[in-house]
Symmetry: C2
Subunit: 337 residues, 2 copies
C-alpha cells in the first residue's frame, strides 16, 4: 500500500491511503489519525490500511484526486532521523573534496549521523536559506521507516522491522560543514530540515526492485529541469537498510517511526567516479560530487551550489516508468526571519 | 508548576501535576493526555495546568502519593534532543584526555550534538549495557524543554521559548567514543538512551536560582552512594540556555517539545581543574573528568568507568535543601538481548 500525510493545519497532518498510480486517495484517519499512530500500533492497524488500499483500487470506497503538493512529508515530525552513508563512493568523493582520505573501516563499519527530526518539511516546500553563502546542496536518498527494534538487534530482526520506503532530500549546507565537522560532534547547523517524498510505500509495492534490503531502481535527480542524477539505488550500496538499522540499534532500542536514510545515492563507473548524465553517465545525487569530479578534471569546481531560485526534483520510477513515491520538488528561497 | 509523566504502559505515559514538595500528584490527563500534547498547545493548556497545580497545593483536588519510581522521563520520547557542551571546562578536560586541544572558537561558538530522542528511559530505569567494556559514564546535566522556535531566532526569542527545566543523565560509552568521533559524523552508538528527572518544572519554580538562562544551584551527583559532584550549574556555563537554543535554531525551526541540554556541568577551581568532593572541591558530574585529573596528577586514571551494579544518583536541591526535580537513580545492568 501507499500512504501519505495531507497537510491539514495540524502538526502531524492527516493519514490517507493513495492509489498505486498516485491519482486518488481515500481518508484513513477514521482508522488512525496519523502515520505515527499507525506505526505505534502497526500489527493491528496495517491490515486495515491494506484492506482500505485494496478498496481504493477497486473503487469500493469514496476517493478524491490526490495532489502531491497537498502532501506533507509522510512523518511531518519524527522521533528519530538517522542517516547512513551507505554509498561509500559518495563518502569517498566528498571526503576527497575536503582533503580527507577514506579510512579502510568505512567499508565494514557504516557511517551514520543523527539528524534533526522535529521539523521535516513537505515535498513541495521551499528550501529556506537566510544566506546563499551557506552553499545549499540537495542529497537524493532512499529512506525507510521502521517499527520497534530492540537494542542489539540482528540484521535479520532489523530487516523484519522495515515498514515503509520513501525518498528524501537531505539538504546539506556545504558552506557550514567544514567548520562544523571540525568541532568534532557532527552535523547540526549544516543540516536544515529534510523533505521526504509525498508517498511512503510498503516494500511489497516495489516488487522485484526490493530484495529485502535495498531498492534496485535509478533515483532521478533533476536540477533546474535538467537530468542531474540517474544513479541506481541498488548499486554500490555498501550497507543495505537492515545493516544500517542494526548499526543504529547497537547500543539502544529504536522506536517505531524512526526514519533511517541510505545517504546520498552514488554509483561508481568502472571502479572510479562516474560521469555526468549529459555525458552518458549515471550522474550525481548531489552537487558536491560533480564539483569534486570537476576539481579532479580541471583543478577547480565549476557547478555552483544551489542559489535562490534553483529547483531540485527527486523521483523514482518503476520499470514501467510510473512514479512510485511521487516527486520531491523544492526551490531555494530567501528566508525572511 | 511541576509536571511528571507516569508510566501507564503507553508510549507517552500519562501527564500529572506534582506538588511542590514532590509528595502528591493529581491527574492532568483529563486536560491533555501527554506532556507533548501540552507543549503542542502550551498557551492554551498551561494556564489550566497552573490552576490545577494551585488546587493541588491547597488540597482542592483529589491527589495521590507521588512515587518517583513510577515516573517515566517527562517526555518518554521526544522529537529532538540537542545537547550542548556549555561548560567549556568539561570540554577542555575531556578533550585533554583524548589528546585534543581546545580550539579558541569553542569559547564563542557552542558545541552541540544531535542526540537520539526516540527512546528515553525513566529516571529509575537501569542503564543496560551489552558489554562492560563500553565504558559507561554518567553525565549530569540540566536540560530545558522549549516551545516552537523559528529558524534564525534571536537569543531573546529563544529565552521566551523555554517552557520547562529538568535534569538529565546523558550516559556516554567512553569506550566507543574515540573510534566513533574519528569517523567525523559525531556520536551515535556511543550515546545510549538518556534518562531525565522524574519532574520537569516551569522556570518560576526555581525562584532566584533562575536568571532567565541558567540554574544557579549545585548539581548533586553521587556514585555508589558517595558524593561525586557538587558543581554549580550556574557557574562556568559559557553559553546559557537561550544561547544554546538560538544556536540550535540557526538554520531550521525547532518544534515544541524539543529538549536542549547544557552538557556536563563542570566548575573550574581558581581557573584550573577542580578537586574531588572528598578533598573539599566541587567534584565532577562525570567520571571522565576525574580520570583526567588523575592522569594529570599521577600519569594514569584510577577511577574506573561504571561497572555492572554501579549506581549513580543525580539530584538538585533548592537553597532550603528540598529536592526540586526528584532524583535520577540508575544502576548499570547487563543487557540480555
Amino acid at each position: 500500500m501507499k500512504l501519505a500525510t495531507l497537510k491539514n493545519g495540524s502538526r502531524d497532518g492527516k493519514l490517507v491511503v493513495v492509489s498505486r498510480d498516485l491519482t486518488r486517495y481515500t481518508d484513513a484517519s477514521f482508522l488512525v489519525p496519523t502515520l505515527q499512530a499507525a506505526l505505534d500500533d502497526w500489527h493491528r492497524i496495517a491490515p486495515h490500511l491494506a484492506a482500505l488500499a485494496e478498496s481504493l483500487e477497486t473503487g469500493a470506497v469514496p476517493s478524491q484526486r490526490f495532489h502531491e503538493h497537498d502532501a506533507h512529508s509522510p512523518l511531518p515530525r519524527a522521533y528519530q532521523w538517522a542517516d547512513g552513508s551507505a554509498y561509500v563512493n559518495h563518502v569517498e568523493l566528498v571526503r576527497k573534496a575536503r582533503g580527507a582520505a577514506l579510512p579502510e573501516s568505512f567499508l565494514t563499519d557504516p557511517l551514520m549521523y543523527q539528524g534533526g527530526s522535529d521539523s521535516f518539511i513537505g515535498p513541495r516546500d521551499p528550501i529556506l536559506l537566510a544566506d546563499e553563502a551557506y552553499g545549499a546542496d540537495m542529497e537524493g536518498e532512499v529512506a525507510v521507516i521502521i517499527g520497534d527494534v530492540p537494542a542489539g538487534a540482528s540484521v535479520e530482526t532489523a530487516r523484519d522491522a522495515i515498514r515503509l520506503v520513501m525518498l528524501v532530500n537531505d539538504v546539506s549546507l556545504r558552506g557550514l560543514i567544514p567548520d562544523e565537522l571540525a568541532k568534532g560532534f557532527g552535523f547540526f547547523q549544516s543540516k536544515p530540515s529534510s523533505a521526504f517524498s509525498p508517498v511512503a510505500v510498503t516494500p511489497d509495492e516495489l516488487g522485484e526492485a526490493w530484495d529485502g534490503g535495498k531498492v534496485t531502481l535509478p533515483l532521478q535527480v533533476d536540477l533546474n529541469g535538467k537530468p542531474f542524477g540517474r544513479a541506481n539505488a541498488g548499486v554500490d550500496m555498501t550497507f543495505d537498510f537492515p545493516q544500517l538499522v542494526a548499526h543504529a540499534a547497537k547500543t539502544r532500542p529504536l522506536v517505531a517511526g524512526s526514519v533511517i536514510g541510505s545517504g546520498t545515492v552514488s554509483n561508481k563507473l568502472n571502479g572510479g567516479p562516474g560521469k555526468p548524465v549529459s555525458e552518458g553517465g549515471a550522474g550525481y545525487s548531489c552537487i558536491a560530487e560533480i564539483r569534486m569530479i570537476e576539481t579532479i578534471a580541471g583543478g577547480a569546481p565549476k557547478t555552483p551550489f544551489m542559489r535562490f531560485g534553483d529547483a531540485v526534483r527527486i523521483e523514482m520510477k518503476d520499470s514501467d516508468g510510473r512514479s512510485i513515491f511521487g516527486a520531491i520538488e523544492q526551490t531555494v528561497q530567501r528566508y525572511e526571519g
